[in-house]
Amino acid sequence: MTLDTFTLQSPIRTSTKQIQKSICIHRLKHIWPQLPKDIQKQFPSTLSTFTSIPLGQSTRTDTTNRFFIDEFRIYLQRKLRLPLYPPPPTTCTCGNSIDKFGDHFFTCKHHVKTALHHRMRDSMYTLCQQIMPLISDATKENIHLELPNIFDKATQLRPGDVIIKHPLNSTTEAHQTTLIDITLIAPYKAHITDTSYTGTAAIMQKHHQVQEYKKFKIRDHPPSNSTSEQLAQELITKNHRMLPFTIDHHGMLGPISSEFLLGQENATFTVSPNEYENRSTSTEVKNLITLSMHNKRHKNILTQANKAWQEAYGSKWFTNTHHAQTPRQWAKQVIGNTFSIHSAKHIIKALNKINNSTITPKKPKPMCSSINLRTPSQYTVQNLRYPIHSIV
């Protein structure tokens, strides 16, 4: 492209956006080597576009999109990867130390993420109810929330949080049913040797894929004497697709969920499906992965919904506010807002729990070279400023 083409012919808006993007990349290259390791490791997750939405793109007329002041502060601190303020106590109720960014609350079993999981599940259910009928793949009645009786014997087992039953003549989906399993994954803890941004981002994606892979291995169900292999085989026989929808502590989606919502260009499969399968020891689980990764599966449902909406309604807005013109914008706002608000609530709830309890620091493991004689001391953490009323 010559300067003439650039100045006289290229669309100005697109060109300036590309300039902006190249400046951003240049700035990132400039600051990256100076970042501390604990920030570098989480930086690709921090740049999740879903958590960018709540600040300026969503409507506040919907009361569910509003933050309480403490939630908003925590949301900003998390998004900008700044230490929490007021600083969290140094020791958790589990006895382990709490990091200054609050990542520990997404790992600790003493602070269950059930509420956050359920809100994400509900928002995914709402999203599917609105989007799937648009792309003519399922009616609202064919989308279910935690449906039992998926298995013949283990009737109470619910492998999917949101269940989509596809029509028999579906042109875009080879499966009879899609079982979406929402999973909030813990932060990546291992040491990262790759020092580049792209290398770190690839490791994050791999971390997601490992968690996705784990979800294909359905646990044994002793009450019905069903083994993991039997359950996997039953899903294959019934032509059910497992879709592990992973979200990390900064709102970054895994490759399978990104592909499902936003398309292949937004999904980085670091580990190929073939490699995936080789890791499994069970043939049934291998086959379940092959079935779930069948070429004829839903990809990029939000763009498809945009096209369908435009064909049906032209330039009519999808919502009654000026914040979401298309189904894609609306859906991203639903996920982004739900995650941001409820992850902040999760941290506040955890801090309040620690605040109201007496903590026993975990006894450090004895070193190989010497016996550790320190005794755990009892102490109470000083009162924090997180008011109870901000927890819903």
Binding site: T5, L47, L80
Partner: protein
């Protein structure tokens, strides 16, 4: 090619934004008077489409805005202005362009194109042809 444009004025505006953000985040903290760390400022000023919060870093934005307005000015002087209010669906009005007087266009008379390496390197999709070009070819 410079990546940002910095003056005392631009620095002051950016500092105001930084202090504002710092005040919201750590209102009662002893660190509230300190500037934001570099990575936090980066996330805050990255566009939402790239995962940031979309605050304006006018030092980084200056090049982009200068390029956009300069390109628009050159186009207007070369091809004329297309009135925005006119209904473009009407074929009679579609080709209307208001040509600017010479004393305005003379500023860009010495405009010359360039085939510098930097422009060849950054190949971009120009699928949407500039409408004035289409109009021009239609006239022929």
């Amino acid at each position: 090619m410079p990546k940002h444009y910095s003056t005392t004025f631009t620095k002051t505006i950016n500092n105001i934004t930084k202090h504002f953000l710092q005040a919201i985040i750590n209102a009662d903290s002893p660190q509230s008077s300190q500037p934001l760390p570099e990575h936090a400022w980066y996330i805050a000023t990255t566009p939402p489409g790239l995962g940031g919060l979309g605050f304006h870093d006018i030092e980084a934005k200056a090049i982009r805005m200068f390029t956009a307005t300069l390109a628009q000015s050159i186009r207007s002087t070369k091809f004329g202005l297309k009135p925005q209010a006119i209904n473009v669906k009407s074929s009679l009005l579609q080709d209307i362009l208001i040509h600017l007087p010479t004393h305005i266009t003379s500023t860009f008379k010495s405009w010359k194109t360039s085939s510098l390496h930097v422009f060849e390197k950054n190949q971009t999709s120009t699928s949407k042809e500039y409408p004035y070009q289409i109009n021009k070819s239609n006239n022929h």
